[in-house]
Amino acid sequence: MTEPSPERPASGAAVTAAAPAVDLWRRFRGDGVAVGGLLVFLVVAAAALAAPWIAPQDPYDLTAIDLFDGRLAPGEESLSGTVYLLGTDDQGRDMVSAILYGLRISLMVGVVGTLFAVAIGVLAGLTAAYLGRWWETGLMRLVDFQLSFPAIMVALILLAILGRGVDKVILAIILVHWAQYARVIRGAALVERNKEYIEAAQNLGFSRLRIMLVHLLPNCLAPILVVGTIRIASAISTEATLSFLGVGVPITEPSLGLLIANGYDYLMSGQYWISVFPGVALLILIVAINLIGDRLRDILNPRLRT
């Protein structure tokens, strides 16, 4: 009678061992829309990264650009005999190359900006939720303050002061986006903080840093992943808007937003391609990212699990 009765490992398909990440990928894989979005995003991202090797022309190389080739319609042959698939802009730049290089900048700005904003937001939200007291009050009032202004206005003012530049646009994106993450993470962390496993961790004498990083953070990752993904799209469109308005990236490093702005003057005269094709590229990128984020949210929502 004194022998403890080891519970046998539960058998059956329901308990195949799987790490949460593996499990997430398995469920993501089963979703057609999510996989489609991811494929489109990967293709676009790969094309953008490979731009220097696959683009027909280097749009930064002024010697390769001929002003006489300016504003050629898609498929039109230039004087030198080159066919421009998507036409050229007013400088005579090949639109395909311009879009590929523009995607590169847009993606880089969006991803780098989001990564930093997530890092700052996670740090702020996590510490606010776990440490509480004046730190939480102060940080969250700052977040409220920040979020009470339209993001684009904050960014515009900032860039008006700092001037143009890729680095400055990234800085602006970090500044207008971190508060969103801080709020989301704090919300998630507040829920998790009250669960018994956090009390258990305190009871085992772990340091606050350890509890936050090893116990709290991994359990707040789901909302970070969802919001982070969707917010990359929003960061990209923020950059595009800023560049379109002429305060974003400099003309020497044209992003998609700047390309759209460049073509804007010619839109009414029937030379649609200079604006529309970069616009379509931007649209595809943003829709793909949003689809991934949307599906991630469904997959990670425990209430929708079957």
């Binding site: 519970e7 308990v15 085992l204």
Partner: protein
Amino acid sequence: MSETGTPILALEAVGRRFERSIDMAERLLALFGRRPDRRTVHAVDSADLAVAEGEVVGLVGESGCGKSTLARIAAGILPPSAGTVRFRGRDVAGLGQTERLAYTLQVQMIFQDPFASLNPRQTVGTIIGEAPRVHGLATGPAVAERVARVMHEVGLDPSLAGRFPHQLSGGQRQRVGIARALSVDPRFLVCDEAVSALDVSVRAQVLNLFLDLRRDRGLTYLFISHDLSVVRHIADRVAIMYLGRIVERGPAAALFATPTHPYTQALLAEIPRLSRRRRRFTPVAGEIPSPLRPPPGCHFHPRCPHALARCRDETPALRPVAPGRWSACHLNDQA
């Protein structure tokens, strides 16, 4: 107290208030003369409880009585807002960092919810092995050995170490929680409704495990439950709580045989029993009051069949009524 020697853990006049914090809007309103509604809950109100080494003390009460708060104060998770917690005679508030860690590790808590009490992102092996590794109780391969040893001790197959909590049954999860506590070699376990969420057949297994651990490791328990039949089975001494106060305390056998406080009597009458068939139910009157607005005087007086006029105004003190038995009721004065 009837115990001799220094108790391993003593709560002396321990209290815990929870205050709703006042937000910005209310602070603004306060400027215009509207006084903010500072709702204070006395979750625990001046509780005295001492646990001797090797003893099992049961703490019984219904929802909102403060037993879980008292458990957390005893385990060192929540600081008391009044009173003193002594571990082996020393006030834990005055402990230095290393002594504090030693106290924290020696008093471990077992939680109610076998789902929420395990980190869902860690494997069973990590959950159990983290504390010994972090605190240097074991290093390298010794961590895995220690994990396997405590898993075996709580009746878990060590091959489950690679599983995640959601892949285990409720009973297995609760055993993981117990193994996690045992991994730091505690002397004292605070069990907060530790078997309440388990199925009847699994509950017996886990209760037996607690009894085995008491015998094999000489553990001391503070065993908190709303289930009187479980407490009667496992506890040497019992304390009954109602709305933040301990209303009766004494040796389990005597207290269950002849309860002195009317609340204890009501509670005992209401425990469902297998031996009682087709019972004519005769209920205790009234609701459990909100801890936000407890009745004045003796908190139980609105529901008490023997309430006197003074019960409404005067809080009865917890006083000895027989050797080892304490009760907080004005009726004791009349006998």
